[in-house]
């Protein structure tokens, strides 16, 4: 028997395959979707002479068509899928259980009471279903019904599934595609938003909440995604802003396009509002399925553990040479992360924002972990305002949902300068410090090279209750770099170079920290994966609680 060997792509099994499966021509599909085709003119009916059974059927059929074929075609033409198509892709086949299909809006002003202005289910599809077998609550706004605008009924439907998600303990995923408030309903619409906001806040830290922006999301509507744990966007077809370009022009006289103001690129690179952007609807939804597998269902569940084929004791020889000899030279922290985690699979969060810190999810021996690492390749890996906030929010998510945190440290310190000081680096830097300090999940720290000054303390140090802190032989734990230190210690001394050499000899190595027990061991880099997997097994039963408090007061 001969063998067939197949090369596996380096970044996850068949992963790259998902993006942009462009125009594949005619794929005949005869699933649930085609039901809607028979309903071309389903909305023109009279109810009077029909039996209840027939009326149920008619309403159900109407609900499946949303705003009708013309609007569906228009939605498709924009390169967007319908609310139901999206759910079908997101959830396991035949797992969707729909709620409130018969709910209709209750507005009677401006001719809204007319039959042709009533759509069973209104402008949102809600319910629960399964992703890889695991329970999730979902809502998917239907742009084909009044532009997905939020009516009182719409909000009520969303609130219902959120309430149940909280009681059951399962995540909520919102697929946002809405023009905003239902103007005809006035204050009722506003009330609806607030009802959702409140539930977003109540659910925060109880069940994971994910928003995927798949169309416009403007005005007050933006605050629901902003309150959720993760906001993802679809490139070119989604926008998030408080006010659109027209209002911006009239108020500040700035000329700006929708894309520049609130497109996926803006929010994933400049503002940091969104955590990641995907090529198109399909790419986004399939990636969301993968992402979902990293998360526990609620704060009562441990981090999920999946079947793992990557040996837990695998050595990573490439790590022994990755840190350059010259401490001024950069390397890519992602190389370390990819080498250590299961199957080189790393779901990076905010890959294009504050790139001097790397955060994201991966697995170690099948168990979800949160990875935080300074990125020496960008701004030497220093901590600044944006990277501190990015890191802090990620650490707090992991802590809230029982996900162990692995921190790779190569940090020369906080970024100096007026821009940073005026911007409040003190306040923002404190967030990261605060987040690491309050976290009670297993915390494993690896110092790969520099751990200087206050930034050393911040980066999940032993002093902030790090459970296992390792140093690589290349680690330098010190108050500052040799040059700066020598200028202070040996001020006025003739031979600065000699003093510098003395300082390097004394401090530019892992020993000062190791002799004091601030690092638990100095390890060979190639054994890092093995060590971390073993530690995680032990720390799985870690119990640690913070003092009782109403809530803590993180420096916002």
């Amino acid at each position: 028997m001969a063998t067939y060997t197949l090369m596996r792509s380096s970044l996850g099994l068949l992963h790259g395959l998902k993006c942009s499966f462009k125009s594949v021509g005619q794929i005949p599909y005869t699933g649930v979707l085609t039901q809607s085709k028979v309903l071309q003119n389903a909305r023109c009916y009279s109810v009077s002479h029909l039996s209840v059974q027939e009326r149920i059927e008619k309403k159900r059929k109407a609900a499946l068509t949303g705003g009708g074929q013309l609007r569906i075609a228009a939605q498709h033409k924009r390169g967007k899928l319908t609310a139901r198509e999206r759910l079908e892709l997101l959830l396991d086949p035949d797992s969707f259980v729909e709620y409130d299909m018969f709910v209709e809006h209750r507005c009677s002003d401006f001719g809204m009471e007319a039959d042709h202005n009533k759509y069973p289910g209104d402008s949102v599809v809600t319910g629960q279903g399964r992703i890889n077998g695991r329970l999730v609550y979902v809502f998917s706004q239907d742009f084909t019904v009044f532009g997905g605008s939020l009516s009182g009924a719409h909000a009520q439907k969303v609130c219902k599934i959120m309430d149940q998600a909280m009681m059951v303990g399962a995540p909520v995923i919102g697929l946002n595609d809405s023009g905003g408030a239902r103007i005809q309903e006035g204050v009722e619409s506003l009330a609806g938003y607030a009802d959702i906001f409140l539930r977003n806040v109540m659910a925060s830290g109880v069940v994971p909440q994910i928003s995927l922006i798949m169309g416009p999301c403007a005005g007050g509507a933006v605050y629901s995604p902003a309150l959720t744990d993760f906001t993802f966007m679809v490139k070119d077809t989604s926008y998030l802003f408080i006010t659109g370009p027209d209002v911006v022009k009239s108020v500040t006289n700035e000329d700006v396009t929708q894309e520049e103001l609130g497109g996926a690129k803006t929010h994933t690179t400049v503002s940091g509002v969104a955590h990641r952007a995907f090529e198109n609807d399909i790419d986004a939804l399939l990636n969301l399925r993968d992402f979902f597998n990293f998360l526990p269902l609620s704060n009562k569940d441990p981090a999920p553990v999946t079947e793992c084929h990557d040996p837990r004791d695998r050595l990573v020889p490439g790590l022994d040479t990755i840190v350059p000899f010259e401490s001024t030279k950069a390397y890519d922290m992602l190389d370390i992360v990819h080498g250590i985690v299961d199957e080189r699979e790393f779901f990076e969060i905010m890959p294009n924002y504050a790139k001097n810190i790397v955060v994201g999810f991966a697995r170690m021996n099948g168990r979800t972990v949160g990875i935080v690492g300074n990125q020496p390749k960008v701004a030497s890996g220093c901590l600044d305002i944006n990277s501190s906030v990015k890191g802090a929010r990620f650490v707090r998510f992991c802590d809230a949902f029982n996900i162990p945190i692995i921190t790779f440290v190569d940090v020369p310190g906080f970024l100096p300068g007026t821009a940073q000081e005026y911007g409040g680096i003190i306040r923002h830097g404190a967030k990261l410090l605060y987040a690491f300090a309050e976290a009670t999940v297993p915390k494993i720290t690896v110092i790969t090279r520099k751990a200087y000054g206050g930034a050393y303390d911040v980066m999940s140090s032993k002093h902030l209750r790090g459970d296992v802190n390792y140093a690589w032989p290349s680690a330098e734990v010190a108050v500052m770099g040799a040059k700066g230190a020598v200028q202070i210690i040996f001020r006025g001394k003739e031979n600065q170079a000699e003093a510098e050499a003395e300082y390097v000899e004394k401090f530019a190595n892992p020993f000062p920290a190791a002799v004091r027990g601030f690092v638990d061991d100095i390890i060979q880099p190639s054994t890092t994966r093995k060590r971390i997997c073993r530690d995680l097994e032990v720390l799985a039963s870690k119990k640690q609680t913070n003092p009782w408090k109403k809530h803590a007061n993180i420096p916002l």
Binding site: L17, S23, P93
Partner: protein, 669 residues
């Protein structure tokens, strides 16, 4: 430490650590050849000293050697070519001899002279031979005198482009312009007319200047469609010389060898002997000692012409070692110490067949290989296979940088017959895992199974003849396509099923999708295929166009190589496929087309390298095909031209800049 693998296919040589040679040898080289030399030194009980540039400080050769000395920064001119620093390293470590490897200082007579002056042994021929053979003009004259067949041509230095055109006219086109000091295909251009002669002269002299610091050029008749066959010679300091048979090195791209084999399918014993004897008489004529190689061009009628003599160990020496059982490095060391050759000509066998593939970090889809750089994120040599030898100087985590040759390794396979060696090569290439850099394995894999190669019908024009429009990758047969699709589909389903497997106690139970059947769409080469998959245990039945393919395997999704059984047999392919559920594929028609960047107005660097010259500035008008700038990478100069006639909008590089692949160089309006 152990990663630099030289698993020699059967050396019959005896290593006697008590045989007095040297206590300590310095290897003035890097990469695989440095590792190769160290390996033999260790067997002979000799201590080794590695030299390295600062970026190479954790390289494999440095770790293998007993001592290592840094000789300067990354650029070769400041480190591996830095004679002062290397001489210091020798003094500092007390090395008694120096092995120069190939390239760098291996054929530098100055270096050999300086060693001699310091009383350090140069493991190679003496300066006289290096000088005589290193100069193409002088070597040709000596060869003529030694009654070696030579190519008609101009026996002098060509002064300028116009003289080149005049001489070319006298010899008759086509002509070859090459660097007098050259080697390895650098500074070499072929011209078929006056225009090409002028252009070739310019490029060659620039390249020669940057590669060898000597821009002298010569011109000779270009033998069209020849084979490149070379004879390995071994000569001692007592006037004895042997020829160790030939190596066929006809598979070349841009005059650089890609696949070599020993022996050649083309030579009959008489031709082999004639070539061998001429090679030996040339070696004797220059009082050659050490290992050397006499290169010949062989035309279709088995006429052979002396090309040049390389006074060093060749890259492709392992195949000779495989068929003769000699360790050439050991022989060089013994000869350098003054030992007499132990063997007689009649002792030199041709045992079996050996093939060498040069595995490069380069993109084979761009002119059969433009350099690529990066970090080897995953690297696994097929050393678990018998009769496979891999000479490499890198390991997982190593960087392939712009500073040095992009060769990753030399993959050598051996068999009793050529067929056996080829089969083994196929298997070895299929089991080679390289991630992080683009590599040429797809091309190597195609060459060694190509009917023309398999039948031995090759010449130095093999690649351009077989792939006139450039290498496009493997063309799948219908059967292979089916199997590939089936494997992709089965793999997709295996991965999907695994992602539903959650371990541990679960508060909310899992309701897995109850499928036993999957309908999938797989995209391959622009085509979309509909597949049905059903599963029982680890066995998948995939239905494609009414035909059923059985796929079974262990489905270890973490492994880079996945052994799978398909209806029985088969092999390894690397293809980009996309697998989607039928639903996702159906909905894909609604997805917006992303507009690709208009590349005609943008000039990007096709490879990492440094900018030698920029010939335009913003506002200039350029014509289509006009040179915009010149990029040098791995000592090859590449002229970048305008894709259309336009005005230059902006220039993003300047001479001396280091650029990465895909970096924006110039924008046109």
């Amino acid at each position: 430490m152990q990663r630099c693998g030289v698993i020699i296919c059967r050396y019959s040589t005896v290593y006697d650590p008590n045989e007095k040679t040297f206590d300590k040898i310095l290897i003035a080289n890097r990469g695989e050849i440095a590792c190769r030399v160290i390996k033999t030194c260790k067997k002979m009980g000799i201590k080794t000293v590695a030299v390295h540039s600062d970026v190479d400080s954790s390289a494999v050769h440095v770790k293998m050697a007993d001592e290592a000395v840094c000789v300067g920064p990354a650029p070769t001119s400041k480190s591996y070519l830095n004679m002062d620093a290397i001489m210091n390293a020798i003094k500092q470590t007390g090395a008694q001899a120096v092995h120069p490897g190939y390239g760098f200082l291996s054929e530098n007579k100055e270096f050999a002279k300086r060693l001699e002056a310091e009383g350090v042994t140069f493991i190679g021929p003496d300066t006289h031979a290096i000088q005589a053979m290193g100069d193409k003009i002088e070597s040709k004259l000596i060869a003529k005198a030694a009654k070696v067949n030579t190519i008609p041509g101009f026996d002098g230095v060509v002064k300028d482009a116009e003289e080149a055109v005049k001489i070319a006219g006298e010899i008759g086109y086509p002509v070859m312009i090459k660097a007098s000091a050259g080697g390895g295909g650098k500074g070499m251009r072929i011209a078929w007319n006056d225009e090409e002669t002028r252009e070739g002269f310019r490029f060659s002299s620039q390249e020669a200047a940057s590669s060898f610091g000597d821009d002298r050029l010569l011109i000779e008749k270009f033998i069209d469609n020849p084979r490149h066959i070379e004879i390995q010679v071994l000569a001692d300091k007592h006037g004895n010389a042997l020829w160790l048979n030939e190596r066929e090195c006809s598979i070349q791209r841009r005059n650089q060898k890609v696949v070599e084999e020993a022996p050649s399918t083309f030579l009959d014993p008489d031709t082999r002997r004639a070539m061998g004897e001429q090679a030996v008489s040339l070696a004797k004529a220059v009082k050659y000692s050490s290992a050397g190689t006499v290169e010949f061009l062989v035309d279709t009628k088995k006429n052979f012409y002396f090309l040049e003599m390389n006074t060093r160990l060749q890259v492709e020496h392992p195949i000779t070692e495989c068929i003769t059982g000699l360790d050439l490095v050991q022989q060089m060391i013994l000869i350098a110490k003054g030992y007499k050759l132990q063997q007689k000509q009649s002792d030199i066998p041709i045992n079996g067949w050996a093939i060498e593939s040069r595995v490069y970090a380069e993109d084979p889809y761009k002119s059969f290989g433009l350099p690529s750089i990066g970090r080897l994120s995953q690297y696994q040599e097929p050393l678990d296979l018998p009769n496979v030898r891999v000479d490499s100087g890198i390991q997982e985590g190593s960087d392939i940088s712009i500073y040095y040759d992009p060769m990753i390794s030399k993959l050598v396979t051996y068999g009793k017959t050529r067929e056996e060696a080829l089969k083994k090569m196929e298997e070895a290439l299929d089991n080679y895992v390289i991630r992080g850099v683009t590599h040429n394995i797809p091309l190597l894999r195609e060459i060694i199974v190509h009917p023309r190669f398999v039948s031995g019908d090759i010449s130095t024009k093999f690649l351009p003849e077989v792939y006139p429009d450039g290498f496009k990758g493997h063309m799948l047969t219908a059967g292979e396509r089916r199997e590939l699709l089936a494997t992709a589909a089965a793999l997709y389903v295996a991965a999907q099923l695994r992602s539903q497997k959650f371990l541990g106690d679960l508060r909310v139970s899992i309701v897995p999708a109850e499928s036993r059947q999957w309908e999938l769409c797989v995209e391959l080469d622009q085509g979309v295929h509909m597949l049905g998959v059903s599963r029982s245990g680890n066995n998948y039945t995939v239905e494609i166009d009414g035909e059923k393919v059985e796929v079974s395997g262990e489905w270890n999704l973490a492994s880079a190589l996945l052994p799978i059984t398909i209806n029985g047999k088969h092999r390894n392919l690397q293809f980009k496929l996309r697998v989607l559920s039928k639903l996702a594929a159906y909905l894909s028609k609604h997805m917006p087309e992303k507009i690709p960047e208009d590349t005609s107005s943008i000039l990007r660097s096709p490879m990492p390298g440094s900018v030698v010259a920029v010939s335009v500035k913003p506002g200039d008008n350029v014509a289509e095909g006009q040179e915009i700038c010149v990029i040098e990478a791995m000592k090859m100069q590449n002229s970048m031209t305008a894709a259309k006639t336009a005005k230059v909008k902006s220039v993003h590089c300047k001479a001396g800049d280091t650029v990465g692949e895909g970096d924006l160089l110039v924008e046109l309006e």
